[in-house]
Symmetry: C2
Subunit: 458 residues, 2 copies
């Protein structure tokens, strides 16, 4: 008497395991099977529904975790005697996160294009990394494995003009994590200067680490050095390659001025987040500030989350000698946050030339997308664009509508755009301006989004 449950009808647009889970909850609440009864085995259910084992696995795991089913060793799953009829308090507050974007066209700045991801190479090197390196099971170096750090130092030297030895590299699970580690090891800096408008993660991490946040206005060249000097901060976080969100690329002269600010007093440091440096469309890349620094006052941060994929959590930080010493004291007992197999896979990706090939392919794809989207939007009467020379987003200003109207009309047309004011702290937001990301949309979708925005803002 096992199959006394009805089977679900799946619809597209939602994970199968979630649909199956919800269907089974309904069935169980109706007493099918009755409490104490046996559920179909996972294998049977797979066969009946024509879905993968992992779909059924996940649904059963969720039902077990929530108390609907009991997992009995060797005899499968049975229905619990006391079903959780009312949601438990935990489940009550623990509402699932809001579903992914409901926009027809989501011009968010955080998406990337994954259509060219080299799945077969990645699967191959991942497997090789496990098979060929049994010694990678034991605890590794707290800063990350030396061969991987050497490959990073080599790459950054060639591509970004970063000047460092592999010993100065610290590998970590994301820029947020490394920034947090850096703030924690600098307790003598109670405040940090951040770009305004600026990257939300910088503000969030500084706040969590108990730093006073000093928002410094940006101008057409990036962070304003006079406002920085006047702020009293001794620590400043900047995004010179492609300022977030303005898209400004800091010219060499401004970089030098910021370095002179750092040299003007002992203990001053610049944190250079080399965000979006991988993709430039309109001019030659400017080498990193870190490579210009002669006094060890720049901490360099970078990540693979934009250039490979947001779900690959590998970032790196290059510490100047004085801070490296400090890092080793403060984080002596802390294991590296990136699994060693993953470090080894990524090292192979770099040294086998797969990464630079991938970057070239992504660079031309993004260049095409950027050209397509900026051309279509630039044709809107009265619109002006900025920050489109690099990276995966730009700004659009349309003076005849307010920022609120731009956002609301876009939303009504099914297009998600971000108001620039969301990233402004102490400065008044530049009027009538929105931030548009293009990486996550296909070329057809960019055409569609541009047409929808043209009509919405007419």
């Amino acid at each position: 008497m096992e199959q006394s449950i009805s089977l679900p009808v799946f619809h597209p647009g939602e994970p199968l395991y979630e649909q199956l889970y919800r269907h089974l909850v309904e069935e169980l609440r109706r007493g099918r099977p009755a409490p104490g009864g046996k559920m179909p085995s996972k294998r049977q259910l797979c066969a009946l529904l024509g879905v993968s084992m992992s779909t059924v696995d996940t649904a059963y795991s969720m039902l077990t975790a929530e108390g609907y089913l009991l997992s009995r060793p060797r005899s499968g799953y049975v229905v619990a005697d006391l079903l959780p009829l009312t949601p438990r308090p935990a489940a009550d507050v623990a509402k699932p996160a809001p579903p992914p974007s409901r926009w027809r066209y989501d011009c968010s700045t955080s998406a990337v294009d994954t259509s060219l991801f080299p799945f077969s190479s990645w699967a191959r090197i991942t497997k090789e990394a496990v098979y060929e390196n049994p010694d990678l099971l034991q605890r590794g170096h707290p800063q990350g494995d030396l061969p991987f750090r050497a490959a990073l130092a080599d790459l950054l030297g060639q591509v970004r003009g970063v000047h460092c030895s592999p010993e100065q590299v610290v590998v970590g699970a994301g820029v947020d994590y490394l920034l947090s580690a850096l703030f924690q090891m600098l307790p003598e800096h109670p405040a940090v200067a951040l770009e305004d408008p600026g990257y939300p993660v910088g503000y969030a991490v500084a706040g969590r680490c108990g730093k006073t946040v000093l928002p410094i206005p940006i101008d057409g060249q990036g962070m304003d050095p006079e406002a920085l000097a006047a702020s009293g901060a001794a620590l400043a976080y900047v995004t010179p390659s492609h300022q977030f969100p303005s898209g400004v690329t800091m010219p060499a002269g401004r970089r030098t001025r910021l370095l002179h600010w750092a040299y003007a007093a002992p203990g001053r440091y610049l944190i250079e987040d080399d965000y979006d440096s991988e993709f430039r469309y309109s001019s030659r890349p400017i080498p990193a500030m870190q490579g210009l620094d002669r006094e060890g006052r720049v901490v360099y941060l970078g990540t693979f989350s934009r250039s490979i994929a947001p779900s690959i959590r590998v970032a790196y930080m290059i510490l100047p000698p004085a801070l490296l010493e400090r890092y080793r004291q403060v984080f002596a007992h802390t294991a590296c946050t990136v699994s060693r197999f993953e470090q080894e896979a990524l090292r192979r990706f770099l040294v086998q030339g797969l990464y630079s090939r991938h970057l070239r392919r992504m660079g031309s794809l993004y260049r095409r997308k950027c050209a397509l989207f900026t051309q279509a939007l630039g044709a809107i009467p009265g619109a002006s664009l900025s920050g489109q020379g690099a990276g995966l987003h730009f700004l659009l200003t349309l003076p005849r509508l307010s920022e609120g109207e731009l956002v609301a009309r876009a939303a009504a047309a099914g297009v998600g755009v971000t108001p620039l004011s969301r990233y402004c702290h102490a400065v008044p937001p530049p009027p009538s301006t929105v931030v548009l990301g293009f990486a996550g949309l296909s070329q057809e979708e960019l055409d569609g989004a541009a047409a929808a925005l043209r009509a919405a803002w007419a």
Copy 2:
């Protein structure tokens, strides 16, 4: 004129890339090849030396990063004109970390046995996780992917009596990371109570997060509830399954008393690090405190770094409802620190039953090792052991020698043991006691270590 360099003679015990790197530095300093000259191609060198491509890759990467070689696109590596004759300041402070243990027998508490690691299953599921889930490239849920969290909730419910919904699970890259996140989201708790003697990582993370550390003595049942109440702390970190380093398992009565401490005032929380709960030899496992908690005052922490491998950086935290709400506010913009492919691989490892099979095999291996080592050491006249009922280490007390003598004589015999005083903060260290880990040594090595210690301490 490419091969004007001599070839190295490799010796065992040091990575090949490091030996090759050092040999080439010597050669280059002697002008072989001369500045501007061409290096053998990586492929040629592989063939000449009979080593893998990755060995040569790594050595060349290190030489390039340090300025000895220049990598010329399409024409290979040439010798730099200006060799770094004197170490640069960066390289100067950046001395490599001390080499791995030089002990003949290293009884460290952090090693694990990796001889039974299921390489082929792990390589298979890792590859499947990449191939079958292209959607895992985009950014995932900040707490970790729901199917993985469901599998964790299911596992912890069955194995540890943890009571939670998948929504309450937060996945992170190591217990240190999660503990740091937790401390950061509780700014109203300026102090944290820690076990004394206790886990060094707890002390390090609390210090970095700016918390005042309140060391609370432990007795034969774990953290002393009266000392805890007297300390004024509203946040306490405990390791009830197998206290580090004493090895004490906290009885149910003491768990209840600690819960009552938490219930006695609003905003009090217990952090339960379920350290070493996977391996028990002498009694049935005691369910986690989290499962006893009726008022949402326990944060549960666990990790796969002992049960699978230290290099796999996946840990988890179960938040009570009130803190979950808080977490979502404070960490709204923070991506999960574990790569999604790795989450999916581990989910498959759990739901396909590979994890429980692995735990069973490791459990019997560790039981044998523990029995062997404790029997041999217990036979030393005057020695008494404690904490050997669970986990991967225990304490040995030998009153006729001081702690310093125990450590020094062991060291002279080639055995690395840890003085208990290293983990003591405010309490006076129990005399004549050392901490011995057995997981990283083979059964033959355990025999050898025991014989060496018997002789050294005679």
